[in-house]
Symmetry: C2
Subunit: 355 residues, 2 copies
Amino acid sequence: MKFTEYAKTYIPKINNAIGTILDKKLENINNAFLKTYYEELKSYLLAGGKRIRPLLCIAAYNAFTDKKDDSIITPSVGVEFLHNASLIHDDIIDKDNFRRGNPAFHYKFQMYHNNYILKKMNQTDFGNSIGIIGGDSTFFLGLEPFLFNNFDRNLNLEAIKYYEQAFADIANGVLIETDMVNRKNLQMNDYIEMVSLKTGALLEKSILIGANYAGIDDKYNRTLSTLGINLGIIFQITDDILGTFGDKEVTGKPTDGDIREGKYTCLLIEAMNSLDVKKRDYLVNLISKSRINDGDVEKVRELFIEADVINTCKKLATKYYQEAEDSLEKLTPVINDSEKEFFENLLKFVLEREF
Amino acid sequence: MKFTEYAKTYIPKINNAIGTILDKKLENINNAFLKTYYEELKSYLLAGGKRIRPLLCIAAYNAFTDKKDDSIITPSVGVEFLHNASLIHDDIIDKDNFRRGNPAFHYKFQMYHNNYILKKMNQTDFGNSIGIIGGDSTFFLGLEPFLFNNFDRNLNLEAIKYYEQAFADIANGVLIETDMVNRKNLQMNDYIEMVSLKTGALLEKSILIGANYAGIDDKYNRTLSTLGINLGIIFQITDDILGTFGDKEVTGKPTDGDIREGKYTCLLIEAMNSLDVKKRDYLVNLISKSRINDGDVEKVRELFIEADVINTCKKLATKYYQEAEDSLEKLTPVINDSEKEFFENLLKFVLEREF
């Protein structure tokens, strides 16, 4: 089944499972502020998103079983809570007040703060405080799908181990990225390590959790891991390319954000390692400026083009795509055709997307 | 066994179990910044603290079993991670840079930021960002004691349910307290609900987790809950009294902090509900000032004394103490003497402490 068909079939069920968890919380609440809080969490969690992580979990489960009884839907949403919890905290850290056109969770409470007559905190601090707790709540709510379902308790405990490991990996990826600003001689391997953790690990764990519930033999884990991690790497490389060289009209994102932030994208790392010393120093100088103007952005872009970074990074993505394809090929004898098609289709989409 | 003896016996073992979890993380890390991060977490978690929550867990386990084989030590530290994770996030929210004389976790990274040559974030934002992630990591690390131990998997899954519930309760307590500033006509019941969640719930869950591992019948849960929640209520009432009327030399804390913050302590709620309208309005005016000076603090203190709040609040604490004592009495036929003594001694200490 193609990725889009899979999404069409399962997204309503995924949203339903997410809503049920929040409704259960809301049922037992009398305090007006708590009611607002959990309603805002619910609306944040249901505001959209591609649900790629639960879909991977469901597809991995369905790949190894013929019991298509939807029992996997409940545990599949744990990883979506984890993803959203990270987004809530990331938006505070990055001071992003909007995400996909909607107010960020902490920003909703900055606005809510206007309702207060007595103000012990200022608006920003109030929003950030509720945002910190909101992310925490979402991390914990993500445990519920593994605690309350019809699966065997051993499988649930294994799933929680993956859940914990997924968080640790994401945190390590974010920490490594935060610290990169101060490192010298960054190599492409450092980038790959960082995105494997920051983006790849949760896709990997989504797949492993699904396969775990299907009760598969551990011997497939390494192959499944490659599939998930590489999916993350390909996604991130493509994201970096589109972030600077994409069509703003198609991606909906400005193409100067990464350069202005001085973000260590694969483009920047590749350029720093392939330009001659003089040009590299010039690039470093541009990126390190505290205020990067339009002219600087253009100069960085020219240096990127001169270093032929798009081609090199596309080749790199293709390498990881090929490795993922090989993993899928290895699994062909043991997985269902419909899910093989799903994974193939998704890999191709992630590699070739222009938005 | 008296509380202090219990503490002397078990605190070194508790610290050892906490250190082991961090050492396991540190073993597999090559990245220099991640190494610093986990070392700072380890030193934060081992910097002290009364370890009251793991001690309650251990005592509850030992109360119901004669297997004193120390197997409870590992799972007992989960609740201490949860407690510390909350502290890390609270200190960011409250902008407290120090805790018990040591730098707060986020503040350590504000100082670490001086090492950076390129600075994408300012010092405060950098410290807060690593602090947010640090709290998150600690919440997740607290799952490990339940995931990797020698107990039955069913018991571990039940313990994780308590762990999740404990977080939800604490968050609800903190949210209710944050919102109190804007509520009118607060009653003592609102205060009791708030502290039961914010402080009582984790003490309660520490006891329930210990009893769960001892494999006790559910029918004791309600009595054990009362014991834990009331311990939290008594602690918090006493804390409020000492926070305004304690001996600064003995408590080590200033006695004007709560008044200056306009904190809804039991003293303030009692005064607002027992003073006549005119004096109550005067009190509300004083507390609501954006800058409360020394004279205002003194006036609030006088109004508290006029309303006889210390006696009323002490009586309230004694009521909850008596209820906890009754619970303990009910358990006497089924728990060991040594642990009965521990709980009795702890209750008495929490009620009568002057520091």
